[in-house]
Amino acid sequence: MKPFTFERATSGADAAAAAERHPGAKFVAGGTNLLDLMKLEIETPTHLIDVNSLGLDKIEKTPEGGLRIGALVRNTELAADENVRRDYGVLSQALVAGASGQLRNMATTAGNLLQRTRCPYFYDTNQPCNKRNPGTGCGAIGGYSRQHAVIGVSDACIATHPSDMAVAMRVLDATVETIRPDGSQRKIPIAEFHRLPGDKPHIDTVLMAGELITAVTLPKPIGGRQIYRKVRDRASFAFALVSVAAIVQRDGSGRVALGGVAHKPWRIEAAEAEMPNGAKAVVARLLAGAKPTNENAFKIKLVERALASVLAEAKGA
């Protein structure tokens, strides 16, 4: 690990301002991904700003009837929250499908959104990787790509976003709230928060330098049968090959977002018009234009079957 200086921030505005004062600074909350990457010297911050004392750890009702989730709410607390379990069940299910009990006790809401990819070429510093080291090429294209993205890919990168939580937040139309070093705040719809790789795969999100996430808000509950289905190589503590977050209403209409298939949680609202026509019809539009590799082409069929299973479960209840 490279040496770094360390400070404990006392307010969101202070933290963002400190980040501007120290080029090369990073915020640390749970640290479960950042510490891993720092040990491998994939992340090499020169200054760490500990944001754990900012008090952003509450879940509150919003005047609009939704929920405001503080950036530092741990994954365990969010999954266990009574309102989340009752009104946003897909989010609770997604959270408990991710990581391990120990990691969920550390990982925060904002940190979960900011996880880096788990692409093995990103982690292996002997391999080329445009995300880790821009301009060096992509080891996964033409390499071992079974876990990689099938849609929204570029010639520079086929990595996936690893979060389960973010997929549920995408289907729930969450909004990310931030504060910037100049003290101004902004609200970013989750659909616009994560980027596709394009020719700049080293940039994961639209956050600007020094911008700190303060909360994620959920709109008023929309009811429906909410299901998160994760398909992976083992039954627990593994990243998704594919995952489906779905909200299905009584009349068969609904929403669906996918994990494990793209550089961001994947949702195409237009495809949801096909919900009453079944999984095959939905997936045909949701994954139209997919560019899988020989090794991960199975994901398209897997998404279709996972969604079919989710729709059958929703109908049966």
Binding site: P3, G31, L35, D36, D50, S53, A79, A80, N105, M106
Partner: protein
């Protein structure tokens, strides 16, 4: 049935094998050195015997010297307050093992996958390898040494001994800390992936136990005995 010469079936021996008591700087031989010192001495010997081969090559490049940055942190560990000044890079695990000499918590994978480093911080189990000591200002940490002692075992430690919930013992401290906190999570109603209905109150079934303990790997594969030990304690407390 397990095989291997290291496996001792006498329950009294288990106390010494388990990560719970580990060596605890106890001297088990007549040389007067602990296992920890013995391993360190052995490593130095190997390094010394390797030195001459380097002399044939070019002078090895001197690694660039790095200036460590220090940070102060106050921790309460097993009820005792400590004021430490540490290199900012020190993980909580390294602070416990290398600075406070609490070597019960183990470094397995050092990347949050194996759970051998599990400790309980402010009542919650976490991977101490994936968090910096400096991030725990004012926190209260319980390690395996704080759960029980060789003379006064925690019930979960007793159950692991009774049920033979280990073979080599390396994962045991993490398994026990994790199991103790996991039962409290169930009591607190924290849901898991094993629940068919996310709004229900959790119960400790076999499937629940396996799901909730999936962050603790046992390379010897003592899982059935570990599950038996945890179930025995859960029967009393959940």
């Amino acid at each position: 049935m397990r095989t291997g010469g290291e496996h001792m079936s006498n329950p009294e021996d288990c106390e010494l094998k388990g990560g719970a008591s580990e060596e605890s700087e106890i001297v088990h031989n007549d040389t007067g050195i602990t296992r920890r010192e013995f391993i360190i001495a052995g490593t130095a010997t190997v390094a010394a015997t390797m030195l001459p081969t380097l002399a044939y090559g070019q002078t090895p490049q001197q690694p660039k010297l790095v200036q460590p940055q220090m940070a102060k942190v106050a921790l309460k560990v097993n009820g005792t307050s400590h004021e430490l000044e540490l290199d900012t890079r020190t993980t909580l695990l390294d602070a416990l093992r290398e600075h406070l000499r609490l070597t019960g918590s183990k470094k397995g994978c050092d990347q949050g996958q194996c759970g051998a480093c599990t400790v309980i911080v402010n009542g919650r189990r976490i991977n101490s390898c994936l968090t910096l000591a400096a991030m725990h200002q004012g926190d209260s940490v319980t390690t395996i040494e704080g759960l029980g002692t060789p003379d006064n075992l925690h019930p979960m430690q007793q159950a692991f001994v009774k049920c033979d919930g280990y073979q080599c013992g390396y994962c045991t401290a993490g398994q026990i800390c994790s199991a103790v906190a996991m039962l409290n999570e169930i009591k607190a109603g924290i849901p898991s992936h094993a629940m068919a209905d996310i709004t229900a109150q959790p119960k400790l079934t076999g499937a629940e136990l396996r799901e909730r303990m999936s962050g603790n790997i046992c390379r010897c594969g003592a899982y059935s005995n570990i599950a038996e030990a945890i179930t025995e304690i859960a029967g009393r407390t959940v």
